[in-house]
Assembly symmetry: C2
Homo-oligomer: 209 residues x 2
């Protein structure tokens, strides 16, 4: 843990803080598909992502679901912080997009360090700001774009996060993330294929160009 922590957070956080983190934090490994935080969970620890990627979903009261954004190494989940500090239940679900590792920091240290370490304050604020920006991007997608454009953005982001042009995913899974139906996704994907932008296979999609 120590090596990875220094490697990823060494430039962001000061030495003394990193040492404290090592002492109080718990390392946790996760596998693709694991539900790391669920809707309604009580959050008592704050996660710092060391490796892998996590996707953050919003759930409708009766059944719908929507992908908000992805988190990568060096990020934290501000939503969790929000819940920690406000002592409220989680408003989101966090699902592992790939295998990876997080360190979990008890919330009491998180608050203590805000007064103690300037680098911690900067990191936490920067993280909040990133999340706010990503929420704005999500809103832009929903408010100003049609499903075809949202789908393209989704595929590109997915490709970026997984660092490949071949995305292993079914039409149904995409439909869940975009809160629409499988038929709609199939229809639009077909149109994208006709445009020569992608190539469709069973349970995976190839991004061309």
């Amino acid at each position: 843990m120590k090596d990875l922590l220094h490697q990823i957070y060494g430039t962001l956080l000061e030495e003394a803080l990193l040492n404290e983190i090592e002492q109080v934090a718990m390392l946790k490994e996760f596998k693709e598909g694991d539900v790391i935080i669920d809707f309604g969970d009580n959050i008592k620890k704050m996660p710092l992502l060391l490796s892998g990627a996590i996707k953050i979903l919003r759930e409708d009261f009766d059944e719908g679901e929507l992908l908000l954004y992805f988190i990568e190494k060096g990020d934290t989940c501000s939503m969790s912080m929000a819940c920690c500090i406000g002592d409220t239940k989680s408003e989101i679900r966090a699902v592992a997009e790939t295998d990876g590792q997080v360190v979990m920091i008890p919330v009491m240290y998180m608050e203590l360090w805000l007064g103690k370490y300037k680098s911690w304050r900067n990191y936490v604020f920067a993280s909040y700001n990133n999340r706010l920006k990503e929420m704005l991007t999500a809103i832009d997608n929903l408010a100003f774009m049609n499903m075809d454009k949202r789908l393209i953005n989704y595929l590109l982001e997915k490709a970026k996060i997984n660092n490949t042009k071949e995305i292993n995913i079914t039409h149904q899974e995409i439909a869940y993330d975009l809160n629409t139906s499988r038929v709609v996704i199939s229809r639009l994907l077909k149109a994208l294929e006709k445009d020569g932008k992608i190539k469709l296979h069973r349970a995976y999609i190839e991004i061309l160009k």
Copy 2:
């Protein structure tokens, strides 16, 4: 300014901090319709709202616009903070919903106080969290609701903010805030009137029940 500041922030912020605010902050009055922050503005001061209400809008790259949420007394604009800290341009537009007053705090103090005053940290975080929650609400509206439900929510919120059941607004103005067209709004309002939920007049809407 001193009285109002103590009255509204007295329970949130410690005495010493309130005194500092008085010394460095600038009082600014605004009138309904004033553009307080515009898209692309460079933010160098952080606003604390003393009275009145402000609406926060997101703009599409070519022309659309969308109401994100309202801010009331005791709140601050976290988006501005985000921009202050990140030293980036404003991602949103802030328009006065009613007449009111803000105090503007230079960003350097804002950062200084984060290390110095616990109550300031708590306030700033609570504010961030409120904004994140409101962004989630905005996303819920966009992702999971049809225009008729969004319109109802809009009218209710508008009524609450202005503390009246008689909302002075044209259909066109509503259409701008919800990023749709006037005809769509007129159509849905008519349906709501037939349901006995509202009564329509020229340039104002009465919420029944």
